[in-house]
């Protein structure tokens, strides 16, 4: 039986990808950003997940204004790397796990989530930067990936509550997959950042750290009820990406055990946040 063994939260800032690709992770500006991932890289090398479900958002890369899915799940065998304007990142193509992805997609729709199924798609920095942060620069990614793309660009994004519920439903779906697979769920994006207007550059380290606390200790009653306006006011317009962390968090069950935590300001315009969490209950399917 497949099981969700851990959750990872991490920012997915494009400049981090460029820094890795250009071999500049040792520069003084960047070293403290990457230092917080040293433990994570060792940890994941030991964990050896088979599949990672990566919750991310497309940044006007694969999707434009013609079609805007709220929740899209990739069911393909492979995903190409988007050209976001400077040519595609020089990273390996992303290999899917179509069996598990279709199983989850079908289960979620039966469970009354109105998923959009995607069979052909390129993925952007929102998905590849977390892979680089966790795995460095391998010849091929050592995991299969199921992309879940969430709309957080055109308003309204899904509510925090709906994201949490989707996470719970993903856990149920994974638990009913017959093959024995070690599955992780990653929530990406955030933390504080605003990339537009006179208020650009906003960082709220206090709020971010309270959110990291809640992600580590709260059973969800507080987290899932944070309204969109609070993310926007407190953490900048792009801070809304943090609703995607709630999908990961919801998939881990009521309580979690925090394994690792990292916070740094700045990377480009953004606060970097990172968490590794274990489900505290024996089985996340008992949610």
């Amino acid at each position: 039986m497949a099981r969700i063994s851990a959750g990872v939260a991490t920012s997915h800032i494009p400049a981090i990808g460029a820094t890795i690709d250009n071999g500049k992770t040792g520069e003084p500006y960047w070293a403290p950003v990457f230092a917080g991932y040293d433990w994570s890289k060792q940890w994941i090398a030991e964990e050896k997940p088979d599949v990672v479900i990566i919750v991310y958002n497309d940044h006007a890369s694969a999707f434009d204004m013609r079609i805007i899915p709220t929740f899209a799940i990739g069911c393909a065998d492979r995903y190409g790397i988007c050209d976001e304007g400077w040519g595609p990142r020089p990273v390996p193509e992303v290999i899917g796990h179509a069996d598990l992805a279709w199983h989850i997609a079908q289960s979620l729709i039966l469970d009354e989530f109105d998923m959009t199924i995607i069979n052909e798609m390129d993925v952007d920095h929102g998905l590849t930067v977390p892979l680089s942060l966790m795995f460095g620069q391998p010849e091929a990614w050592p995991v299969k990936v199921i992309p879940i793309a969430v709309n957080v660009v055109t308003y309204p994004p899904p509510s925090g509550n709906r994201c949490w519920q989707l996470g719970e439903a993903i856990a149920r779906a994974v638990a009913s997959f017959p093959e024995d697979l070690n599955v992780q769920v990653w929530g990406t994006g955030g933390m504080s950042h605003q990339l537009q207007g006179p208020r650009a550059g906003l960082i709220n380290a206090e709020w971010d750290n309270r959110f990291l606390d809640l992600m580590s200790t709260n059973d969800g009653e507080t987290l899932r009820t944070i309204p969109h306006i609070e993310y926007l006011r407190e953490t900048g317009s792009e801070g809304i990406e943090m609703v995607m962390w709630l999908i990961m968090r919801g998939a881990l069950g009521r309580m979690v055990k925090p394994l690792h935590r990292h916070y740094h300001v700045p990377a480009s315009n953004t606060a970097v946040g990172h968490l590794i969490l274990r489900p505290a209950e024996s089985s996340s399917s008992e949610v």
Partner: protein, 137 residues
């Protein structure tokens, strides 16, 4: 269900209360539709070449208002946002110019690139006083 706002009018009205911020609502998405689709077209190398060769000729192919075209040609990103642009779409314009997010985003703040960069290194812009226009906090 949680006690969340179900009324879309109340939900949207709150966004206008955030200083120096344009939330990409349906109203903006509709106004800026072709500006954003124009920007998206720059993800293709051949379109970038045509754009760089003659910006005015390229942008005139799109059903945008003259205001929108001029805002893009001027690289006036605040004006672009006012006219319905979204930063992830507009990123294709500044990426084509060879600007990073850090450089481009800074231009919207009225700060010099050096000052903006220094502010970020010092911990970023404080949320104090820019949370709410109405509540002055």
């Amino acid at each position: 269900m949680t006690g969340r706002t179900r009324d879309i009018h109340a939900y949207l009205a709150e966004f206008d209360d955030i200083p120096g911020t344009r939330v990409y609502t349906a109203k903006r998405a509709r106004q800026g539709y072709w500006m954003n689709q124009f920007a998206m077209s720059l993800m293709k190398a051949e379109n970038r070449e045509r754009w760089k060769a003659d910006e005015r000729a390229y942008i005139d192919e799109w059903p945008m208002t003259e205001d929108q075209k001029q805002a893009v040609l001027d690289r006036d990103y605040n004006r672009c946002l006012d006219l319905g642009g979204n930063i992830y779409f507009l990123a294709k314009v500044f990426s084509t110019d060879g600007l990073s997010f850090l450089q481009a985003v800074g231009t919207m703040t009225g700060m010099s690139p050096q000052d903006y960069q220094a502010m970020m290194i010092a911990g970023g812009r404080s949320p104090e006083g820019v949370r709410s226009i109405r509540e002055k906090r």
